[in-house]
């Protein structure tokens, strides 16, 4: 069963361990600006939102790429960029509806989460469980359980009973 990276922003403490470890893993340097995940922070409100590739069903980054450099890795589900095909036009960066396609501030390379080939490093250092790597079926199952309680009410409503 395919796994994916799940973000639960409510749990994030904004520590940026994910950004830093990501840059070390992929670039061999400690530089959050080169991470494939980024935490947007409202520190005075205590709100922190990790932004990472959502691996869309119909990815805008893939559709817009003029050189077909962006492709899905069907082993992991990650959207990856072939550096040999990429011409650096950054169309994918601007097309991404989540701002989750990043650019190397030094050389303009596209930085896209590749899920560390199915073993994401950021998940290993996330102290709060804001980032987890789980089977997709498990997530949908949890959603189902969460919603199950509401179903009888909806059914009652549909047949005109008291909700």
């Amino acid at each position: 069963m395919i796994k994916t990276l799940i973000v639960d922003a409510g749990k994030c403490s904004g520590c940026r361990a994910c950004e830093t470890i990501c840059s070390l893993k992929h670039e061999g340097v400690c530089n959050p600006a080169k991470g494939r995940v980024h935490v947007v922070k409202w520190e005075q409100k205590g709100t922190f939102i990790p932004i990472n590739c959502m691996r869309c069903e119909s990815p805008a980054c893939e559709a817009i790429c003029p050189k077909h450099a962006t492709y899905r890795n069907y082993t992991t589900g990650a959207m990856e960029v072939d550096p040999y095909l990429c011409i650096g036009c950054m169309s994918c960066v601007f097309a991404c509806p989540f701002g989750a396609t990043f650019v190397d501030p030094d050389d303009g390379r596209i930085l896209k989460c590749d899920l560390c080939d199915g073993d994401p490093t950021c998940v290993k250092v996330c102290p709060t469980g804001a980032l987890t790597y789980e089977e997709i079926s498990k997530e949908t199952y949890l959603k189902l359980i969460e919603n199950a309680g509401r179903i009888p009410l909806l059914v009652k409503e549909a047949i005109g009973g008291e909700a």
Partner: protein, 631 residues
């Protein structure tokens, strides 16, 4: 290109508007970085005789080679200058996210000298440095200032360290604040910054910290992250902050009550509301940059506001001012942080007035009709506001506890409890002798906590176990026994060196010397992987010893001598009235013998407390010996 260090020290002269850089590299073998390197910078830049609030007093920010790296807990910055409180070397350390960002922007250290004609702030972005107008920011509190700068420069990810109104008004114990409560709290750095007309230092960078051995560092960082998270102390902190451990501190007479007036306060043990407060208002627990530890509680209180707190205001605005109302605790904490006041000294100021009132040495007439009743909400909150505003009696306190007491008369002066011009760390020294030794000989009035002081507290939990630990780590079982005067010098010596390893590297001393790792082994491994050096532990510890001795020599140059290494006389004269250590008092003679033992270990002259030439030369500080001791 250096690994770990960025390689640049930024020099800013606010009088001339001059900006220059120099290389970090020549200093690193002797001082590493962070606290140690900053110490050498202040020793070299400070001209003896310069007043703390004079433009010539250098204000220095120091990150270490590990700051901003993938090493967990690497968000620390050390700040130094001459302290307006003690006229000795100031030292305060803060976390949050500013330090890493400074390195990403291109600098390891900033040395700020001179005084701007008009209010200004420093803006550092990717190697570009600008002194900008801060006329509009003047008067804003620390939260507003950070937001206003982010808005003005159009980037919410800019990191700002700033002063509040208290620093602008040169309150002697004003502090620096970043985020919602990470503070360079002690020794009055806010007053020094305010005296330069400098409101804030804003940083933003897209650079990084280069690493010599990235693959190995990745592996070890993931392991350390896991070890921190699984550590019982951090499980407690991450879930409960310090809230659950507070009553225990009072139970074992470790936290003093009031102005070191009482111990083992039944009221707080029976009616403590901290846990309920936490359950109600803690939004989440937070940590500094890249730290899984999360030792701070982020509270969100609908009427009072949001922000973080950790250990110190927790006791400062509860037991130290006889307060059990957690709303008052939180309002006092948020107010101090917004105004930019050191919570420890502020709560001690309030505690002092409460004692003076209690002993009929002052009347409400002395305090603008505010009745300084122990635990009074009005007394606590009004005093904080008045200090920040320098209004009425607040103006007196803003000049320091001693200056205020002098105004109230000689009996009031006798009441003041300070060590080297600072409110002592809020531990009870009468029962905990080794902790008392550390406080007395320390580099500043409040050098705590250190590992061996916590060992004395741990002893309460399991005496036999911790006596064994003490024997293995510090040479004798006695080291762990709070009331014993035996074997206390060596643990103080070792703990001081360990702390400096963490501070020199720019990592958290809580993680690396107090709770998770308790020796220099892990920091040394991480240091070598980041920097590519191949140092033995002893080489890092030798730097710590050099740093300790140079700190001492800075203060000796300022006139510090053995007699200054002491505790307020209360600790020698008034025995504890109750609790498990009832009757304990610090015996002056035995206290002096502990000091002798400490100076011997340090290679310092026992008569004067001054490091010997022999010791200084052994540490490569011959130049310092020549200058201070004479050729």
């Amino acid at each position: 290109m250096m690994n770990g260090w960025i390689g640049n020290i930024l020099n800013v002269d606010l009088s001339e508007g001059k900006i220059t850089t120099e290389s970090t590299e020549p200093y690193v073998d002797d001082y590493i970085g962070g606290r140690g390197l900053g110490l050498r910078l202040i020793y070299d830049h400070y001209v003896p005789g310069t007043d703390a609030l004079d433009p010539g007093n250098p204000l220095i920010f120091n990150t270490g080679p590990l700051t901003g790296s993938a090493v967990p807990g690497s968000g620390r910055v050390d700040v130094t200058a001459l302290s307006p409180m003690s006229n000795l070397r100031a030292k305060s350390n803060f976390g949050g996210y500013w330090g890493p960002e400074l390195k990403y922007a291109g600098y390891d250290h900033i040395v700020i000298q001179g005084k701007s004609e008009k209010p200004c702030y420093l803006w550092i972005k990717d190697g570009r440095v600008e002194i900008r107008d801060a006329e509009k920011l003047w008067g804003m509190d620390t939260f507003e200032t950070q937001k206003a700068i982010q808005n003005e420069l159009g980037d919410p990810e800019i990191k700002v360290v700033c002063i509040g109104p208290a620093g602008e008004r040169l309150v002697q114990f004003a502090c620096l604040i970043t985020e919602t409560g990470d503070a360079a709290g002690r020794t009055g750095m806010g007053a020094v910054m305010g005296s330069k007309n400098l409101k804030a230092v804003a940083v933003r960078g897209s650079g990084g910290v280069n690493v010599a051995r990235p693959e190995e560092l990745l592996e070890l960082s993931v392991q350390v992250n896991k070890e921190i998270r699984e550590n019982p102390a951090y499980l407690e902190l991450a879930n409960w902050g310090v809230s659950r451990s507070i009553p225990m501190m009072y139970e074992h007479s470790f936290f003093p009550v009031g102005y070191f007036e009482d111990v083992c306060w039944e009221d707080i043990m029976e009616n403590y509301q901290g846990i309920e407060f936490m359950e109600k208002y803690q939004l989440k627990s937070l940590g500094c940059f890249n730290c899984p530890g999360r030792c701070m509680s982020f509270f969100s209180h609908p009427e009072i506001g949001k922000g973080v707190t950790s250990c110190e205001p927790f006791s400062g605005f509860t037991g130290a001012v006889w307060n059990l109302d957690m709303d008052v605790f939180w309002e006092a904490t948020v107010l101090s942080n917004r105004m930019g006041l050191d919570g420890t000294e502020t709560s001690a100021c309030i505690g002092l007035l409460m004692e003076l009132y209690h002993d009929n040495l002052i009347t409400p007439g002395d305090t603008d009709d505010v009745v300084m009743e122990r635990g009074s909400k009005e007394a606590i909150l009004t005093t904080i506001r008045k200090i920040a505003d320098r209004d009425g009696y607040g103006d007196l306190l803003a000049r320091g506890q001693m200056a205020a007491a002098e105004k109230f008369g000689p009996e009031a002066v006798e009441k003041v409890d300070q060590i080297k011009g600072l409110a002592p760390h809020a531990y009870e020294y009468r029962a905990y002798k080794g902790t008392g030794l550390i406080a007395a000989v320390g580099h500043r009035g409040d050098p705590l906590p250190l590992r061996s002081s916590l060992l004395e507290f741990d002893w309460n939990m399991s005496a036999e176990w911790f006596q064994q630990v003490a024997k293995e780590k510090y040479g004798s079982e006695e080291a762990a026994i709070p009331t014993s005067y035996e074997g206390k010098a060596l643990p103080a010596f070792i703990s001081e060196h360990m702390e400096r390893v963490a501070d020199n590297l720019g990592i958290c001393k809580w993680v690396y010397t107090l709770f998770v790792y308790e020796d220099a082994e892990m920091p040394t491994r991480l240091f070598n992987l980041v920097t590519g050096k191949d140092w033995e532990i002893n080489k890092l510890l030798k730097v710590s010893e050099r740093v300790r001795n140079l700190e001492r020599m800075f203060d000796v140059r300022q006139g510090l001598r053995r007699a200054d290494d002491t505790l307020p006389k209360k600790f020698f004269e008034q025995a504890l009235s109750k609790g498990k250590f009832e009757g304990e008092v610090m015996d002056r003679e035995k206290f002096e013998l502990m000091k002798d033992e400490y100076y011997d270990l340090r290679g310092w002259d026992k008569m004067t407390g001054i490091p010997t030439r022999e010791k200084l030369e052994e540490l490569g500080l011959g130049d310092v010996a020549d200058e201070v001791l004479g050729v």
